[in-house]
């Protein structure tokens, strides 16, 4: 069944919040009054209010998944709550066709005293199931959440992972036309997350999904449209998911370098990329497959007996260590001139995949590798490539018929 109908249409949606509790309650009282009379007057910002969501528009059809990303407090969850009908917009409209499912909180309505089985009914009822539906799905839910042995135990003795599994097991039984997902998948162990994704994959083709997450790998894996929110406004809205994720990461590139350890024998003065793809970008850029040529400059504070050993570690945007450059040999010919120690290091044909990377530096000396300096995030650079690849390396490959 090919169905091109727009299931979720959002037009000029705005929502404001109040920064002060007392004022907020007072405005609430006023809003109660104006709501009774239809709330037709336009809403403007009153003192101490701000726009939490401002002028958001988008459309989703069946089979589309919109990733909502942005830093904390950008308005993602607020937007999701409006879509779910929990909050009333202050301007604009939301039009939703079909059954709406929301994975905003798993296991809502669980009572800790009652058993898992009883709570399946509670949570199911809140999610809109009828008794007969739950009866017929009970076994599936228990099996999905792998709680056969514990289903008659009070939920207060469940581990948090078990609660989440049970919650998702129930929620997964919804057959929504529009599904709203907020961060819930961040909890649980790996096996559970994989199971969740399998479920989402299986319902995606006949559902329109809005997915809020801070986990870019999940977003890039699931979504085919992306919206980047910043202070309630939409900075980027396209089907180019990779571009959106890039902009999101570039919002965080102002992180400062930190000295983790130093014995004050040398100080890092400067790090730069010798061969940037374009000059004068805020973040130095390289094309995939370019050589990585870095220049380092140190000031020597205490006389060194020999040239120290440099260990240069590359981290990806999630701060995973992904690679390390070979250490310099004693015979590398790096010498100290006038209290300055400068060198360049080159790695040919860098095959890191598209994204932003940072560098940690360790300077040590002697056979025991006695540390002289450990400094994190000394430098950041970006790799450009047309395809979004989640693994940190995109390795050159050639295929041939045989």
């Amino acid at each position: 069944m090919k169905d091109d109908k727009v299931l979720l249409a959002v037009e000029g949606l705005s929502k404001k919040f109040c920064k002060d509790l007392k004022t907020s309650l007072w405005y609430g009282l006023k809003d109660l009054y104006s709501n009774v009379f239809g709330n037709v007057k336009a809403r403007h910002l009153r003192p101490k209010e701000f726009w939490a969501v401002k002028d958001i528009s988008f459309e989703l059809r069946r089979g589309e998944c919109l990733g909502l990303i942005g830093h904390n407090g950008a308005g993602k969850s607020t937007l999701l709550k409006i879509l779910n009908g929990l909050l009333q917009p202050d301007a604009g409209t939301v039009t939703i066709r079909g059954r709406v499912g929301a994975l905003i909180e798993l296991g809502a309505g669980f009572n800790p005293i009652l058993t898992g089985r009883e709570n399946i009914y509670n949570n199911g009822a809140i999610l809109g199931f009828t008794k007969r539906e739950i009866d017929s799905k009970l076994e599936t839910i228990i099996a999905f959440s792998e709680l056969e042995d514990f289903i008659d135990m009070p939920v207060q003795h469940y581990s948090s992972g078990m609660k989440v599994r049970l919650g998702f097991g129930i929620a997964a039984q919804m057959e929504p036309d529009v599904l709203l997902i907020d961060e819930v998948l961040a909890v649980g162990d790996l096996g559970f997350i994989m199971k969740c994704f399998k479920t989402i994959d299986s319902i995606l083709p006949h559902t329109a999904i809005v997915f809020v997450s801070h986990s870019m790998p999940m977003v890039s894996r699931v979504c085919n449209k992306i919206m980047l929110l910043s202070h309630g406004e939409s900075l980027f809205y396209k089907s180019d998911v990779a571009k959106g994720i890039d902009i999101y990461y570039s919002q965080f590139n102002h992180a400062k370098s930190t000295v983790v350890f130093s014995d004050h024998s040398l100080v890092l003065m400067q790090t730069k990329l010798m061969n940037p793809h374009v000059e004068d970008q805020p973040l130095p850029q390289l094309n995939w497959g370019d050589d990585l040529q870095l220049y380092f400059e140190f000031r020597i504070e205490k006389a060194l007996q020999r040239c120290p050993i440099f260990r240069i570690i590359i981290l990806d945007k999630e701060l995973r260590e992904v690679a390390v450059l070979e250490e310099n040999e004693d015979a590398s010919g790096i010498t100290i001139t006038q209290d300055l120690l400068c060198f360049t290091v080159c790695h040919k044909r860098l095959e890191l995949s598209k994204g932003v990377y940072s560098i940690d530096l360790l300077v040590a000396t002697g056979k025991m590798r006695a540390p002289l300096l450990r400094q994190n995030n000394i430098f950041q650079f970006q790799i450009l490539h047309e395809t979004e690849t989640w693994p940190p390396f995109l390795l050159n490959a050639s295929y041939a018929q045989c």
């Binding site: 066709r97 009914y121 036309d177």
Partner: protein, 281 residues
């Protein structure tokens, strides 16, 4: 397959008929949910307690005991009530406790659902209905207790007693309507609940809960104006076979509480999004 379309926007639907219709549709469609919520709360309440149901009537029982003690020791002299005083005092405090519980019920049901209200969209009317279920459950227990009391004190059980549950239903309905009307305000400001609690404590003495309406004086005027007088006396008269002095007033009160309930229900429905926003748990 026709898809149901929902629109969320700033402007509210103001046509009363339409609003009421959707409200009642929600009540109907959420009948399983409200029953389930009530079952959940009742079960949980008694599973974590040894005395369980005792707590439901311990407060009215102690109030009654205090008054019975005061009366029998002669500290205060009360007008004769026509039945053994303990029966009079105890029925009064039990009916009063049901009334108080019903007034508090919508606010407390909504309040305890804060965490789900701000995360999941479900028919909020279910909270009110589940509150009514819980009240009815507690009232049934109290009803049994009253019958036991009557038998202990040898008050003859009469046919009118069969109407008593109906009268209790009226008390619950009246209380819930009043409670529902103040729920939106009560959820915004905690002061409201405190004020209600304080006010009801005074109001108890302006109602014939533990003593009869005096024959003359300012208290007689106050009590006769007080609609709760009608509720309590008529309900109690069904048990102890009184004169039904306030039967017409009772009927007026009940007739007035029907529109009151509808208005409160609409007000509640319209207010929920604002409350969810402001109380955001």
């Amino acid at each position: 397959m026709a898809l149901e379309t929902r629109i969320y926007q700033k402007e509210q639907q103001t046509r009363l008929g339409k609003l009421l219709k959707t409200s009642f549709q929600d009540i109907y469609s959420s009948r399983f949910l409200s029953l389930q919520l009530a079952k959940r709360d009742i079960k949980a309440q008694y599973r974590q307690s040894y005395f369980g149901i005792v707590w439901a009537f311990i407060t009215p029982l102690t109030t009654a005991l205090v008054w019975i003690f005061l009366n029998q020791t002669g500290v205060i002299t009360l007008t004769a009530t026509g039945v053994p005083y303990p029966v009079y005092a105890f029925t009064g405090t039990l009916i009063w406790s049901i009334l108080i519980d019903s007034i508090n019920s919508p606010t407390s049901s909504t309040n305890s659902a804060r965490s789900i209200l701000s995360k999941i969209n479900f028919p909020k009317e279910a909270l009110i209905v589940s509150g009514i279920y819980k009240l009815l459950f507690n009232s049934c227990v109290k009803l049994v207790l009253i019958v036991v009391f009557l038998m202990v004190y040898g008050v003859p059980l009469q046919g009118l007693l069969l109407l008593f549950p109906l009268a209790l239903l009226c008390v619950v309905f009246f209380g819930t309507s009043v409670g529902l009307l103040i729920t939106p305000l009560g959820l915004l400001y905690n002061d409201i609940a405190k004020m209600i609690g304080l006010g009801m404590r005074f109001l108890m003495y302006a109602s014939p809960v533990v003593y009869v309406v005096p024959k003359s004086g300012i208290m007689k005027t106050i009590m006769e104006w007080n609609p709760l007088t009608a509720l309590i006396t008529v309900t109690r008269d069904l048990i102890i076979g009184g004169a039904f002095d306030y039967l017409y007033y009772f009927m007026w009160v009940m007739m007035a509480s029907l529109p009151l309930f509808l208005i409160a229900l609409l007000f509640y429905r319209v207010s929920i999004p604002i409350l969810v926003e402001r109380m955001n748990a």
